[in-house]
Subunit: 320 residues, 2 copies
């Protein structure tokens, strides 16, 4: 048995605290994509909701519990999707949301955070700089700091995807999970290792932002000086120790993929599944592309975790 910060009963209970609009997302086999990839491919679609990513599963828990305790404000650092999700979940509960993001984040993500009525603070550095700034803002204002992957609600929210994967009629051989801060990978991984231990849990990260994957392989926190990837949603550099511990307990593997594979993955998801996705959501397909023998003939599920992408950049990528 393994020990993590996660708990199955809490995750099951969490479903009741998440707006149903974010639950029970489509999960279906995509034969056209599978033919191209040489395996059976199911997609778990987390983009058909008001914030176009899986992140609201977690922010619904954060905001619900905060409001339940009388909290009225929250601040988070975000690569762009958490901020939208917290903005959405906060707005409907009367919570003032402040999002700290990198000025270099995709414009659509920043625009949509503002459109949700959240205060948006921009930093000149990358996501890790935004994290530092969010800590100081929260401290100065005395409001709730929401830390993605560290705050257990963000992991429990993402873990509800695992419940839906585990309860499906389909029997997967492997589930491919985008790896950034680790909330989704640890949450989904924990549930699968608990309810469907034979399913291989494979985390996928870009070679250009490999900190958590390197940490997993070396079983200790490894940071990087920079992150260089189009997959802006997973471009962290400082893994959180508690999250790494959980990931070590629940992931079967963590692999790194090239930028070119991410682009090809995005193009294949468009051509064969009709899905416009952001780069992070193509990591699973990229992993299959880079190691086809490993997946040949097997049934893999990949989580399409977000679709907030600048269309100009997207069109450039898929035309390459």
């Amino acid at each position: 048995m393994f020990t993590t910060r996660l708990d199955l009963a809490r995750i099951r209970a969490a479903r009741g605290d998440i707006d149903p609009i974010f639950l029970d997302t489509p999960l279906y086999r995509c034969d056209a994509l599978g033919r191209e990839l040489g395996c059976t491919v199911s997609v778990k679609l987390e983009t058909a909701n008001p914030v176009r990513s899986f992140k609201a599963r977690g922010t619904e828990l954060v905001a619900g519990r905060l409001a339940g305790r009388g909290g009225t404000a929250a601040v988070c650092a975000s690569a762009g999707n958490l901020g939208q999700a917290l903005g959405w979940s906060g707005r409907r509960r009367g919570i003032e949301v402040t999002v700290v993001a990198s000025r270099r984040a995709p414009a659509v993500k920043l625009d949509r955070i503002r459109a949700l009525g959240a205060e948006l603070l921009l930093v000149d550095g990358d996501f890790e700089m935004a994290r530092e700034r969010a800590v100081s803002v929260a401290r100065r204002r005395g409001v709730r700091l929401v830390e993605d992957s560290l705050d257990i609600e963000t992991c429990e929210g993402a873990a509800t995807i695992g419940l839906e994967l585990a309860s499906g009629a389909s029997c997967f051989d492997a589930v491919l999970v985008a790896l950034g801060g680790g909330a989704m990978a640890t949450g989904v991984g924990y549930v699968l290792k608990t309810l469907a231990p034979d399913v291989e849990v494979i985390c996928v990260q870009p070679l250009g932002a490999p900190a958590m994957t390197r940490s997993w392989h070396q079983r200790r926190v490894v940071t990087t000086d920079s992150a260089d990837t189009i997959a802006d949603g997973v471009a962290g550099r400082y893994p959180i120790p508690e999250v790494l511990d959980d990931l070590l307990a629940v992931a079967d593997d963590a692999v790194l993929v090239h930028e070119a594979s991410i682009v090809t993955g995005m193009r294949m998801l468009l051509e064969h599944a009709g899905l416009v996705v952001e780069p992070s959501a193509a990591l699973g397909v990229a992993a299959v592309l880079e190691d086809p023998d490993r997946f040949a003939g097997r049934h893999v599920a990949t989580i399409i975790c977000g679709s907030n992408v600048d269309l100009d950049a997207y069109q450039r990528w898929i035309r390459t």
Copy 2:
């Protein structure tokens, strides 16, 4: 009260005969799209399934009942989506499926029908020629002819979308439904008029293929000599009298839209909702674009009914 061929109890029971993968599809407000259109917009997403259209709701009923009676073969005419859906529903029940389609149908639709193992017969004319050919094939072979919109299962299947729209927490002022043969419009319209009579049911058809809309306004079948629209999924010319009767009973309005509005609608669904759709699925947005005052400030739901689109053509359209 109104009389149609449809029955609420049968439609409710139908849910049990449809693979759950096609049911309870995402229904959510898309604020970015609403801001552009000047109203509140919810989308009902019927594309996140193995056949990328709503048609399998109906073919699940057709194939299930046919198999239950020992049937082993079926033939249908299709603009492309019904054929895929019948192919999918037939394959898993051991039913041999033959699809008759126009040679001019989008290549992706034809390719995907073949990929599902269905026999594909092509005719040189349009959809109405395919319908004639399907009748003769069925008669010659002595197998079940599946007639979209005429066969009650196709209407009942589509009507289950109406149940989901009516049961949502949201209260719509109007629902915009693409109008082709009429299965979706009569099915959804019947359920809404029964369970939520205040919701306006508005059918939308291209000006280039206006037969059913003209028939609805003139309260008698009006045929056209040709159909000329990029919305290949709704390009019929010969309305079916029984379906028109039902539509007269349940629709509040039927409007025609220009091709340019359909193209703009597709582009807006991509830019503001991240959705790649086929032209028929953009008819609802097109209707709002052409009559913004009618919808200003109201809450409209539009059914995103299909995403089987040739990407080359799609890219040309949205770049216009």
